[in-house]
């Protein structure tokens, strides 16, 4: 009964929200991604058994797969951390109604079990199990093994929320997950504790003796209860109402004065970034972005793929731009009405955001100079990418902001608040990164690496030269959608 009400509420929330049109387009894109992954997993699940049989005729494919399960779990955990969020539900209005708190929490947790991330693995593991049974493995054992896989998937699901809640309470952002996964991987890699062996043996044990399936089930129950307790403790009004009062550490930021008439907005933006959790985490993202190159450059495979450098350059120098820029002007949605009734020039407001993003690109480029260790071409590509970011991507993202209709509530710190995070956040960054990759890749293919860099630089420089014209155009777009934005931002 209650479940029906909850679903009904969410249905209405989705269809009646101001950003409905936009979410439709995004949802279609998400569905394409989902289909793509489903098909890939399906093919993998069907082809895995015969493929392994062919590649390693000596060995048992089932044993090989079990040997890789540990790595699968690590990857799954990492992916979920960045893409999967606890289902959002506005609980405050429900708290005073005769709905049991337990019910609300159970509902949220159960809904999370229905997540795409939990269903996707089935598309690979079910056909794989069928292939096993066809090839003469005892079906009851295989089914128990499949059950164990499903249970482990759910464990990862709930473990992820625990990790996320820990990360969201501290200001370390993604540090816990990196430490956890990196630590497990390192321990395994350097043979301190062979987790891959352990996991493999565990699944083999369940396969041969079904009673052992109780172990993962027990772990699942523990993680579920831990989540339950954790969420329930957050479900009291006072934990969201009586927010802890932080003592202010005010600084006058006189150095922004040199930027002239945009100084007040710069100060405001810097305070915005530093004093709100949501924005602060995008500062931490800078670290991740800076280190991103380290995933690729040390590997010899990528050393021979210079067309890839520009892409990494865009990412490394543009991570703040993408992260912060895509929510302009939603960052200011809470007091947008006030800004609009004040004596401000829209152009200055936007210019401040532009200056901030440009500064971040320059700083990140300087910090990324050590990558020259992996070859001067990388430095060159990063330079071209930085110019492109400043000249083109900043303007594109500001322009995109004029279509922004989704409010971000900075003041809200209650549980369940994950506005504007999750998979969607990354999709918006795609055109910003793929377009220069395509431009660079094509020029690289038909001429040379240097020409590719020149083309990106020229495009970027063109953008910088046309900056004033572009800003006038963008400002006009914002003015045109002024009423719509005010309306959308004043909705909850």
């Amino acid at each position: 009964m209650t479940l029906k009400h909850f679903l009904n509420l969410e249905w209405k929330q989705f269809f009646r929200s101001a950003s409905f049109g936009k979410s439709i387009a995004l949802n279609i894109l998400m569905i394409f991604f989902a289909l793509y992954f489903i098909v890939s997993f399906l093919i993998m699940g069907i082809a895995l058994y015969p493929g392994l049989k062919k590649a390693f005729p000596e060995e048992d494919p089932f044993v090989i797969v079990n040997g890789f399960l540990f790595f699968y779990i690590l990857v799954d955990m990492a992916m979920r951390f960045f893409l999967q969020k606890l289902p959002v539900m506005s609980v405050k209005p429900l708290l005073t109604l005769p709905v049991k708190r337990n019910k609300v929490v159970h509902y949220v947790l159960r809904k999370s079990a229905m997540s795409f991330f939990n269903i996707l693995p089935l598309f690979a593991f079910v056909p794989f199990s069928i292939m096993l049974i066809i090839n003469g493995y005892p079906s009851s054992s295989v089914l128990i093994w499949l059950l164990a896989i499903i249970v482990v998937t759910l464990i990862i699901n709930f473990l992820n929320f625990l990790i996320e809640s820990i990360s969201s309470e501290t200001e370390l952002s993604f540090l816990p997950i990196i430490v956890l996964i990196g630590g497990l991987f390192a321990l395994n890699h350097f043979n301190v504790i062979s987790f891959s062996e352990l996991v493999s043996q565990g699944f083999m044990a369940i396969y041969s003796n079904p009673i052992f399936v109780l172990v993962p089930v027990l772990i699942l129950a523990i993680t579920y209860m831990a989540n339950f307790k954790q969420l329930k403790s957050k479900l009291f009004l006072d934990s969201s109402l009586k927010s802890k009062v932080t003592v202010v550490n005010a600084s006058s930021m006189e150095w922004t004065r040199r930027f002239g008439d945009i100084a007040p907005f710069m100060q405001l933006d810097l305070k915005l970034i530093w004093r709100n959790k949501r924005t602060k985490s995008s500062v931490w993202m800078l670290l991740l972005g800076l280190l991103y190159g380290l995933f690729f450059y040390p590997q010899p495979t990528y050393a021979n793929m210079p067309w890839f450098f520009a892409f990494i350059g865009i990412f490394v120098t543009g991570i703040f731009l993408i992260n912060f820029g895509q929510f302009i002007p939603a960052w200011d949605s809470g007091y947008y009405k006030m800004l609009m009734s004040q004596n401000i020039k829209y152009e200055q407001y936007l210019k401040s955001k532009w200056t901030l993003m440009t500064m971040s690109v320059v700083i990140l480029f300087v910090l990324s100079i050590p990558y020259v260790y992996f070859g001067w071409k990388i430095l060159l590509a990063h330079f071209a990418a930085a110019i492109y970011n400043v000249g083109v991507n900043t303007h594109v993202i500001l322009y995109g902001g004029s279509f922004n209709r989704k409010k971000i509530d900075l003041n809200q710190r209650a549980a369940f608040n994950y506005q504007g995070t999750g998979a969607v956040q990354w999709i918006i960054g795609i055109p910003l990164m793929l377009l220069p990759l395509a431009i660079f890749g094509i020029t690289y293919a038909i001429s040379s690496f240097e020409i590719g860099c020149v083309v990106l630089t020229v495009l970027g420089t063109t953008g910088i030269v046309l900056h004033d014209k572009l800003m006038t155009f963008i400002t006009k777009k914002y003015l045109d959608s002024k009423y719509k934005m005010i309306d959308a931002f004043s909705q909850d």
Partner: protein, 235 residues
Amino acid sequence: MIETKNLSKAYGTKTVLQIDQLEIPKGQSFGLVGNNGAGKTTYFSLLLDLIKPTTGHIENNNVMVHQSEDWKPFTSAFIDESFLIGYLTPEEYFYFIGELRGQNKVDVDNLVAQFEDFFHGEILGQKKYLRDLSKGNQKKAGIVAALIGNPEIIILDEPFANLDPTTQIRLKGIIKNLAEKQGVTVLVSSHDLLHVTDVCERIVVLDKGEVVKDLATNEATLKELEAHFSGREVV
């Protein structure tokens, strides 16, 4: 000063505001009363160009509000908490608004210092962000921020709601002083008939988006308003 002509605002087929003619002269303290949904906030939002009029226009000091932005330098407002920036301290907020209105820190400090008893020691020097203040204190900060930069027109939506009695009385003093001594046009809306009659020289009653009464305040006004809202017209 403020001229409203043939103004209407409709959402779909439903007209929420319809004012054919309304003039507010300079220096008047003007009160707007009406039940929920009468169109008070809609009118103020139109005055601030936050929504688009369906027909007609408002001229503020001979500036067409929905066409030019030149009314902004001499007009200021506090409509609701969404006018505050939660992650600033009250002081920072005042300075920010001051900067937008061409005032330096000293100007702002001088102005804010006059409102020390209005603040009752709960706003300045608290080292707290606005989002951590109580609703009433947030409102005090917002109202004073609307006074920064010597505006000629000040618009306050429901300024008395959420304030404690002492502050309400002080606020009345401030509004009266602005209109009588400084020649500022003050537009106030309220549900509290007593406060409005105390403060405003003129009171307009809105009902379902239309002006149904336009009164110059005198001793009988409060009675007349009470009669109107209780549904018994005095004959």
